[in-house]
């Protein structure tokens, strides 16, 4: 029996590294498939993709994919990616980062990359907690929820990262969840195609720490929570009570001058002036 139309993502994997290290049911694997499916839909060449990550559960992802990969210091993934993109502007640079990695230690790199509007695709895997280091609260842990370092409830307000990078100047912003896994490839593909800073937040479940500390349950119960709390952006304006809920879909899509192109134009204009 001939095997045909099998999902074409296996060619992007380092198969000898599997099964992966993430917990059974962890949302990171769902996002990994979504990203690879998005790249497969675009039909990009493997050698033209660079996947860069910092430190964290989600940042183990580049170890499993057969692209050009870079595993960098904590929070500095966007800084390394800026260098890669400026040196080789024809590469597609995808950054995989977690909520602690991106919003806490790498927060400044994030807003300045968004301000420059450099052509990077940042995928932030927001599991609301530091999973790898056993469940400390992160800047994206919701107010009042529990963590190892917040045994009586978190008293800090959480970031809305999509609003933050929007005001910093990103040109493509989207949000999705692991429950809406069918949506992830489209958002990733649109983010890669966008010429400018693309920011895609995926809300995923960490049942091992966040689910257990907050007594939500296993992966299925946490995905049901995502289903009941996510509101499609197309329903914005209708009378929906948004307390504790969030919008999903393409939140922002604009155009503005891209940094690498502007930089090249500046160099050629200066060279022309010197020659004449």
């Amino acid at each position: 029996m001939a095997i045909k139309e099998k999902s074409g993502i296996k060619k992007y994997l380092r198969l000898n590294k599997f099964p992966h290290i993430w917990c059974g049911g962890c949302g990171n694997g769902i996002v990994l498939r979504g990203i690879l499916q998005g790249i497969d839909d675009l039909g990009l060449e493997q050698n033209k993709i660079v996947m860069i990550s910092g430190i964290g559960c989600s940042s183990r992802m580049p170890g499993y994919v057969d692209f050009n990969t870079l595993h960098t210091a904590h929070g500095r993934a966007i800084a390394f990616a800026t260098g890669v993109k400026l040196a080789k502007p024809d590469l597609h640079v995808i950054i995989i980062t977690g909520d602690g990695d991106c919003a806490a230690i790498g927060g400044n790199h994030l807003i300045h990359a968004a301000r420059r509007n450099i052509d990077l695709t940042v995928v932030i895997l927001n599991n609301s907690i530091y999973g790898m280091t056993s469940g400390q609260y992160s800047p994206l842990t919701p107010y009042g929820s529990f963590a190892t370092t917040a045994p009586y409830g978190n008293i800090e307000q959480s970031f809305d990262l999509c609003e933050l990078v929007s005001s910093a100047g990103a040109t493509y912003i989207a949000r999705s969840t692991t429950y809406h896994a069918m949506q992830i490839p489209k958002l990733i593909a649109a983010g890669i195609e966008n010429s400018g800073f693309s920011f895609i937040e995926i809300i995923l479940h960490c049942h091992t720490y966040y689910g257990r500390k907050n007594k939500i349950g296993g992966p299925v119960e946490m995905m049901e929570w995502q289903k009941s709390h996510a509101v499609p952006i197309s329903k914005k304006g209708s009378n929906i009570d948004m307390t504790g809920k969030f919008y999903i879909g393409e939140l922002k899509k604009t155009r503005s001058p891209e940094y690498c192109k502007t930089y090249d134009e500046l160099i050629s204009a200066t060279q022309r002036r010197k020659e004449s």
Binding site: M1, A2, I3, K4, E5, K6, S7, I9, L13, F18, P19, H20, W22, C23, G24, G25, C26, G27, N28, G29, I30, L32, R33, G34, Q37, T178, A181, M182, I184, G218, P219, V220, M223
Partner: protein, 86 residues
Amino acid sequence: MKDLPLWLNLKSLSEKQKKLFNIEINYLWCKGCGICIYYCPKKVYTAGELGKPQIMNMDDCINCRLCVMRCPDLAIEVYPREEEKL
């Protein structure tokens, strides 16, 4: 169903064109989280040993690919079954 013209007779149409799909589960990668069992709209899977999915009725699969996309271990593949030529 008798009164309907042949092209509207959905039952005979579905019987004729019902496509079958093969499901492959990589048990070396599967960690038995139960997401595929819960979200399958046709109840193709049941929990077997260690909570890992057992395929009960593969012919019911409609290739919605919800289990493929939501499998955190990338362990499930669904692809069209090639009918043996008579």
